[in-house]
Amino acid sequence: MKPTALLSAAAALTLASTAQAHFQLLYTPEVMLEKPGDIDLALVFGHPMENSHSMDMGQPEAFFVVFKGEKTDLTDSLEAVDWQGPGDEPADAYTATYKIRRNGDYLFGLVPVPYMEGAEDVYIQQITKTIVNKGAMPTGWNEPLGLPTEIVPMNKPYQVFAGSTFTGQLLSEGEPAAGVECEIEYINSEIDLEADSFSKEILGPVPSTAIVAITDDNGLFTFGIPRPGVWGFACLGSGPDKEYEGKELSQDAVLWINATALE
């Protein structure tokens, strides 16, 4: 075998495992609302860019929305569903509906129960945020929610333009977390909230290795958004909890943003 062929073979093996990052989804189709209405949310733990299998979620520890500083518990609105991935067995996931009426920023937060990743023998807990706006009125999209670890957006998360950049600040117990690796993906499938499923087809390319940014001394990272879509950032192991039920825990911070073309 030629050395180049060997190299490609080795690369293929490595790539297969690295480009596949876990991402806790907290998805809703419309993040900039003009009129009052019910929004549907899907809570799914998957591999959105590869569009491979989804993992079973347990009953979330917390699910809430903060509007103008007021926190509303939404755990009672959760409905357990079988989420259908592109091919494999369905996974345990949740959906919810929330009525949005008044103008402003709605900051949704999800604290899932830690998930046992058998392949790595570690627990993963991805504390996740998604921000929705009604009526174009900004009322605190850049306010931290006081989560154990979280990404605070430095650009309006519901209105990012493809070709521009997005900056986030990673916090751990409210303090900037430096030197943390953040993985970046986009949702690479159509999401059908009627059928609780990802499409079989993917929407765009899957990079050959994971997209990564490292937070600076102030916990900041910046990423140029290359294409429209729903982009997620998962900063790994930034949370204060390092152990769960006697095993290693990776307590991660996830933030979702929506990028559109400025046309």
Partner: protein, 117 residues
């Protein structure tokens, strides 16, 4: 209100700009001009209507004038946004519209038919 103050000092070239701005606002109510006035109204379902206002930079609309006009453009109600940037009024019979008036070029008009529960 800084907007009103700014307007009182307006000179002629600015008047043109203001007109252009007003046109833009009419054509695209939610376009992203710095300091765009924002106003949304809701039918409370109990014979009253609630309007909330603000500006695109997040600033309050407390004290901003608001008028309710009937189909013949007669003012049937006049008031101002309260400390929470809100204004509540009894829903008029027949067609009406709400004018959120933060000064020339800073107005929002909402037709009563667009105000739903």
């Amino acid at each position: 209100m800084t907007h009103l103050k700014a307007y009182s000092m307006i000179r002629k070239p600015f008047l043109l700009m203001t007109t252009a701005l007003a046109l833009t606002l009419v054509l695209g109510a939610t376009t992203a001009i710095a300091h765009t006035p924002l106003c949304s109204c809701y039918d409370n379902g109990d014979g009253t209507v609630l309007c909330e206002g603000g500006f695109s930079d997040g600033s309050s609309a407390a004290g901003v004038g608001i008028r309710v006009l009937d189909a013949d453009e007669n003012v049937v109600l006049e008031g101002e946004m309260n400390e929470y940037s809100e204004f509540e009024f009894d829903k008029p019979d027949g067609d009406y519209k709400v004018v959120f008036d933060a000064g020339p070029g800073h107005g929002v008009e909402i037709a009563g038919s667009d105000i739903v529960e």
